[in-house]
């Protein structure tokens, strides 16, 4: 098992944002988390990646307890994430954006004495990533000059560049055109062959075709879990989220 979350609860004030959520993610899976707005999906991501400490519960990655670790350490251990709102280095070139991520893999990742210009390892890795996400032609543009879709792909690329064991994508296709969405699905699928992925999505078609496991959250509770077809036919899920015809 790659990731295990046990009895995750989060209370803010008197509000139960998450209640006893259990999560087990196997290596190689593509898991989707779905649920209505305010269900606690992003909060669950935040708890796992160390942005928020849970009130209760524990998270293990590769058998290591990562609860309450600072987020940068969790990233070092192997979780990369993208954000609901695009989070990139806006006024740096696309290439540099990927390079900052790629250099984390090497011992000189934040050394004062190594020179960027003499470092071929990072640039090679960055080129690979740019090739993969299809942004090679715009490598010298500033990240803020890219289209929204390209920016989101860049963010996925950066997350990949740190060579994570587990990749968490928060609404990777939000705000994308159908064509961009299509390209992103292909990207996630090809990446999914090597990396375990967990994503939050609202586009239900995408979720159904892409993932092999689905978790449904509502009001901070897990109400269903299983293979896509099982979840889709679940009464409770239909009532709360998918809607009945």
């Amino acid at each position: 098992m790659l990731l295990k979350a046990e009895n995750i609860s989060l209370n803010i004030g008197g509000l139960h944002i998450l209640r006893d959520v259990n999560l087990e993610i196997e290596k190689g899976d593509i898991t989707s988390i779905i649920g209505p707005n305010g269900a606690g999906k992003t909060t669950l991501f935040n708890v796992i990646t160390g942005r928020i400490s849970p009130t209760n519960g524990k998270v293990w990655l590769k058998g290591k307890n990562i609860t309450n670790l600072p987020s940068f350490q969790i990233a070092r251990i192997g979780i990369a994430r993208s954000f609901q709102i695009t989070n990139i280095f806006a006024r740096m070139s696309v290439f540099d954006n990927v390079c900052i991520a790629a250099q984390t893999n090497f011992p000189f990742r934040c050394s004062i004495f190594s020179q960027v210009s003499k470092d071929l390892k990072t640039s090679r890795k960055a080129e690979e990533i740019l090739e993969l996400i299809g942004l090679k032609t715009v490598r010298n543009k500033l990240a803020c000059e890219l289209s929204h879709g390209d920016q989101r792909r860049l963010e996925i690329g950066m997350s990949l560049a740190i060579e994570p064991a587990f990749l968490m994508l928060d609404e990777p296709t939000s705000g994308m055109s159908p064509a961009e969405t299509e390209a992103t699905i292909d990207l996630i699928r090809s990446v999914g062959k090597e990396v375990t992925i967990c994503l939050i999505e609202h586009k239900i078609n995408l979720v159904m075709t892409l993932s092999n496991r689905i978790i449904v959250l509502n009001l901070g509770e897990k109400i269903a879990e299983g293979r896509p077809e099982d979840v889709a036919s679940d009464d409770k899920v239909q009532r709360i989220y998918l809607g009945t015809t």
């Binding site: 940068f72 990233a75 280095f89 740096m92 000189f108």
Partner: protein, 326 residues
Amino acid sequence: MVRFRKFVEVAILLFLVLLPLGSDRLFSDFYIALFLRIFIFGILILGFDLLSGYCGLVSFGHAMFFGTGAYVAAIAWKYLNNCVWLGILLGLGLNTIIGYVLALLCVRTRTIYFVFLTFAFSQFFFVTANSWRLIGGADGIAGIPSPTLIPGISLGSRTGFYYFSLAFLVIAYWVARRIVNSHFGRVLEGIRENEERAKFLGYNTSLMIRRVFLISGLFGSLAGALMTGFQPFVSPYYYHWSLSGEFVIMEILGGMGTLVGPLMGTAIVIFMGDILSTWFKEAWMLCLGAIYVICILYSPEGITGIIKNISETGGLMKLLNRLRTN
């Protein structure tokens, strides 16, 4: 672009090396002193730029490193030994401790809160220096002997100290350039752009900020020690917030995050201070303030921003063409 920059760097260095040859013949010794001040503040500004320009944290208390460097050098040269290295190294040592401790506290804040916290700490130093009789209180320390390079070779002559400071400026520039071009430098820019993203890529951003804060302080310390070597008198003014403010103006006027820009900013502020103060006396700071406001409004990227705009849009060629047709 890099080759062009190298060419300009070498040309300027050559000019600065040859400059003292003309003193007394072409112009007065006074200009040597002016350049000396530019070198000294330039060293500090290079460090300041690493923190403010590259990492995005504007400090409003950088005078505390400058002042400490100056005071320590003054005390060391006056009471211990007037070897120049003793003053510089002791200053660096004390500032390492100060920088380390203050970084632990300041790293908790960002943006305007960081500005105010650094300001508050530097005021603490100012008040201490101003009221502590042992280090001269409000009178400061006077009668500091001119330092020696090695026993027997004095740095008392202006030209000698000019070259000494120039050497340090060149080293400081080289070091700052190397830091900027290092992997650490790239992470710093990342922190400036988006700290959260850097954190989630696995960087201990607060450690990085602490590091650059300390490095930046050491540049200031060196500048302070050189200032004491140049003017054998230190006063609590070296800790004053208006000096910290001047550093911010130099930085922004030149263009943050370019190293060369803030150096130009330093030169401009010091030259202007000299020219304007002969005309307007005390009121020259008003003019500087006005220029600062105009700069913020119309060219937030400072002088380097203007130069970049002109060269990118071909504005210079247009200007030349117009002159030719006229």
